[in-house]
Symmetry: C2
């Protein structure tokens, strides 16, 4: 058994896919960076696409630990946790000079006709993210109008994050990202003020 080699391939491929995309990463790139030989890679994976599947499964299982846990421990207010998560993407954009955005979003748009397994894993990664946000909204349910579709609002927050990252990367400017997040904040504030108005009325 050699889980070490398999894991090393996945970690290396993940870095390269995030950095250069799937199509622009050659198997030779993965081999040279991971110091592993082609025979070993093809011993564990039938082909390049199966490496991608491995990466997406790996990332899916690490979202909780890598992405959410650090922010959950730093922020407790559920609404602020959402904006803390968005701020994490902001920091990543700035520290990588706009090279890294959302890795799943990049792949989702790069792979125009992905095979069902890949597409399903991309969707699963989005779903996990959305479910985490939905949990925050549920925790803040009393600060939102009672008829709020919290699942749809969580999807919408994912949408704003992805679009904001895309624009910031295209313009190589954090301005669009900040203004987009400010707009989202305004929307949520408006929802919250509706609740207060209703409370006064009753």
């Amino acid at each position: 058994m050699s889980p070490d080699t398999r894991t090393k391939i996945i970690m290396t491929a993940m870095e390269l896919f995030w950095d250069k995309g799937y199509g622009s990463t050659s198997v030779a790139d993965i081999l040279s960076r991971s110091q592993i030989h082609s025979g070993s890679l093809y011993h564990f994976f039938p082909g390049k696409q199966d490496v991608l599947v491995g990466v997406l499964e790996f990332y899916r299982d690490k979202i909780e630990e890598w992405l959410l846990a650090p922010i959950w421990s730093a922020v407790t207010d559920p609404i602020e946790r959402i904006f803390g998560l968005l701020n994490g993407y902001r920091t990543q954009l700035l520290t990588t000079d706009f090279a890294y955005g959302c890795p799943i979003g990049n792949l989702a748009l790069e792979l125009h006709e992905p095979d069902p397994k890949v597409r399903q894993l991309l969707a699963a990664n989005f779903t996990n993210w959305t479910t985490a946000i939905e949990g925050c909204l549920d925790a803040a349910a009393e600060r939102l109008p009672p008829n709020t579709d919290r699942r749809a609002l969580a999807e919408y927050i994912l949408t704003v994050m992805e679009g904001a990252v895309m624009q910031a990367r295209s313009f190589r400017d954090i301005g669009p990202f900040d203004r987009n997040v400010a707009m989202l904040r305004q929307h949520i504030d408006l929802l919250a003020s509706q609740v207060r108005a209703e409370f006064v009325k009753v």
Copy 2:
């Protein structure tokens, strides 16, 4: 002078880039579909990337005629023009079975380190789109709070469109798109209701 050949190359390459992406479109693909020989292509373009530049310049110049004019003539209310534009992307998603999203968004995320000319053209395409939306918002200025940053709101609408298209394509389901647009509609309605409340107060 043979603008016909040059244009044919650009139109063919545009179709292929929208359909399969830039990296997955080979020069041979462009040649076989356009019935043009490699020498002719390289007579007009120094290389593949220059074809991409030509496509982006061409599309930038056609946004008004191809994208906006049909909707402007079908809808007159400025706010409904915005949602009419979004509905155009919705129709395109459905009629292409989620193959076509926003062509500029796809390329923006596919090209991780584009050269300055390409990056500038991607940004110019986004800017043109945003400016058109901003024009609608200016025309509806009296229905928005007076302190509204209409440029930022236009950027935000682009963001929602791009994110909504991304999710619909990933899930191969129009549901996320529709719910995202509904959320945006709610936000704009909330802004409009603020104006009415202010009017009553005065």
